[in-house]
Structure formats: structure tokens, C-alpha cells
Amino acid sequence: MKPFEYYSPQSVPEAYNLLAQIGTGAKILAGGTDVLVELRKSADEVTGSIIDISRIVSLRGIEESGDTIVIKPLTTHTEILRSALVGMHAPLLKTAVAGIGSPQIRNRGTIGGNIMNAAACADTVPPLIALGARIRLQSSTGDRTVALSEFFTKPYVTVAQRGELLVEIRFPKLPFDARSSFMKLGRRNALSISRLSVAAILMRNQSGVITDARIVPGAALPTWHRVSEAENLLIGHQPTRELFVEAGKKVSEVMISFTGRRWSTEYKEPVIAVLVRRALEGCR
């Protein structure tokens, strides 16, 4: 590893002031499961300083506030997996973190790092977008909240400015009658980075008719977003296998309209369709 200066701020203002002072070359370190892998690559010529935020106590924990769940960015995947609040109000997020890496990676890796790294295969992002999450960013010059669906511009690129710290992730609790699921396809169970994934949420009225649907594929589109073309097919209908198959095909179509046909399309086209159908069937 190349040499760098190491700082471990104890508070959020201390952290963003350091980021502002140092400017280019300052890198935030949370759980380190992405950063350490990058630092070891000799290609990393930029990082001159590491700002280790892992000791900032106020950036840890999961809370509820009325109808909202608030997750602080340093919360590890293991903590999310064990959280009764997440299990009750956002079960699809729990399913997603259960499949991340390995126990060792889940014990260190944080939800904030997963979002800020912005890899196309980030497993917490499709569920969070389906949940309608918003994130709060603070810097020495500002404090703003952004919808997660508008945060990413392309893989590994976000609208975050240099010097901004992610300090909070919040989303409305799912209604009790909502059903949700997350499906991921990787090369093997543990330690597999998602090839493709789907987060889905369905709500139905008393007679079983679908009243709200949210479908967010992961690693399929250039950036994550809900596929309203497929969601609209579902709303107002009884859930049937045929309907779910149609919705799957629609997501496939939308994916190809973005990516065009390339070497991986032959594989991804049928697979994403099946994954969407299974995710919808999982919403029972």
C-alpha cells in the first residue's frame, strides 16, 4: 500500500472540516471493505489522506421516528440483519444484506459505504430505492437531502460533491399489509457480487387487487430506478402468474431499451424476466 496520512475524527463537523481542509486526495474510510481493496491496487494514485470515520458514534444505529426508519451510515450489514425494526418494517432490506459477501464482510461493511461506493452491484440500493429512501449529506458548507433515486448518475458516480459526508438514510415504514422481496442471482451463494437482482414491493386491497407496485432491478439498468412501465401493468389487477410473467418481460424490454443489445443480453434478457417474476411471487 502507498503511504498516506491517517486521521480519525471523533465528530461529524471535525470530519467535514478535515475533508474541506485537505481537499483533493482525501478519502473517507468506513468499514474499509471497498476502500482497502482499492488502496491495494497500485492504480490508486490519488489518495493522500485517509479520513477514518469509523469512530464517530453519532453515525451508528437504527431508530424509528413516527412512520420513518432512520439508519445511520456506519451501521453494519450484520447490525441491519439483526435489527427487529428492519425485519418488521423493511424485510426486503434484511433479505438483501443477508446475501452480502460473507459474515466477515457483513461484520465490517456498512450501509453508508455500500451506497457511497455506488457499484452497480450494491445490494442495499434496489431495496432502499423501492422503499423511497432519502439520504442526507453534510459538508463544511451545506446540509442537504436527496432522494436516493436521484443520487446516482452512472456506476461509481453520484451527485455527491467532494467534501460531503453521508450522515443519514431514512425511509417510510412499509405498511403492514405490504409484501416485499429481494432476489439476487450470483455465481454462488457466499461472496458473490450480484450479477442481477430485483427488489419488489406489492400492496393489495381487501379483494386482492394490486393497488401499488414497486420494482427496482439491480445491476441491470445504467442507474437504479423503479420500472413504472412494469409497475403499471400490475396495478388494478389480481396477482396471477401470467401477469407476473408479463411484468418480467416488460422489465427486460426496458433494460434492453437502455443498454441496447450486447454480448451479455442473450443471458440477461430471460434471466431478469424470471427474476422479476420470482420477486413478485415472493411478495406473498
Binding site: 498516506f4 480519525s8 468499514g31 482497502l36 459477501g101 461484520n107 465490517r108 451463494n189
Partner: protein, 158 residues
């Protein structure tokens, strides 16, 4: 590059150390402290050979910067045995022939310890999940799973 002063507990022993920040916990353990029981494999979090416990949780020591263990507690495979007396997990690994070349063993033991400390009577599925971040190239997984499941029995015997 400024050295970083850290105070830490490793295998129950207090250390005051000055470390280079661009050193991993794995480097510190093996190269500075001579604790070579922890193995260096892939160095990118995929093989689990470097697994140690940090505050009781299994972590890949190749993905932790040395300064990050300031004020934290670390347990390595060297800290498992009590003097000459092996830990019940180690006994069970021996009894079940769960050690072939032995390269993965320290990591497997530490992942298993995390599991058993939090889940005393784990199911086969829980055992397999607990070691899902540890690769064994000798492919002795079944013996390893059996050894971990049978530790309680071992404890009762002794």
C-alpha cells in the same frame, strides 16, 4: 507519513504501538508482532485465511487498517488455547480430521468461535453460513462442519 500511536489488546495482552497507517492488521500481526498463526491469502477479503475476532466479531484482518484497532480488542488463533490446553474447538478439529494442509484452519477456527459464542447450538445451516467466507482448497468442508457441530459434545466429554 506520520506514524499512529495505538493502544490495543491482542489475545488478552495490552500493547502500546506506533504503527504505519498504510499497514493492515494482518501485516501488524504477522510482520511486527510475529503472530503468524493468522494466514495471508488473497488479501482482498475473499478467502478468510486472515480471519481474527475484533471485539468478538469475525473480520478479515487484511481489510482492517492497523490504526483501526486502537482501543479495540483482537483475538487471534494464538489466543484460543489456554497454555498447553487446546480450546474445545481445536480438539474437535483434531478428532474429526478437519485439518489437512492446515492453511485455512486458523481462519475457520476464528469464524467458528464467533458463531459458537453467539449461537451455542447451531444448526448445520448456521455452521455453513458462518464459514461461508472461509475457503478450504483441500476441500475438507464436511469434516470442518462436523467438527464445529460436535464441539458441545467434546466439551461434555472433558
Amino acid at each position: 507519513m506520520k506514524l499512529v500511536l495505538i493502544r490495543t489488546t491482542i489475545n488478552g495482552r495490552r500493547y502500546d504501538l506506533e504503527v504505519r497507517p498504510n499497514m493492515t492488521l494482518l501485516d501488524l500481526l504477522r510482520d511486527e508482532l510475529g503472530l503468524t498463526g493468522t494466514k495471508r491469502g488473497c488479501e482482498v477479503g475473499e478467502c478468510g485465511a486472515c480471519t481474527v475476532l475484533m471485539n468478538g466479531q469475525a473480520v478479515n484482518s487484511c481489510l482492517v487498517l492497523a490504526p483501526q484497532i486502537d482501543c479495540q480488542e483482537v483475538l487471534t488463533v494464538e489466543g484460543l488455547a489456554d497454555g498447553e490446553k487446546l480450546h474445545s474447538l481445536q480438539e474437535s478439529f483434531l478428532d474429526h480430521d478437519a485439518v489437512h494442509c492446515g492453511f485455512c484452519t486458523p481462519g475457520m477456527l476464528m469464524s467458528a468461535k464467533d458463531l459458537l459464542d453467539h449461537t451455542p447450538d447451531p444448526s448445520e445451516h448456521e455452521v455453513r453460513t458462518a464459514i461461508s467466507g472461509n475457503l478450504c482448497r483441500c476441500s475438507g468442508y464436511q469434516q470442518i462442519v462436523d467438527a464445529i457441530k460436535d464441539v458441545e459434545g467434546e466439551k461434555r466429554k472433558t
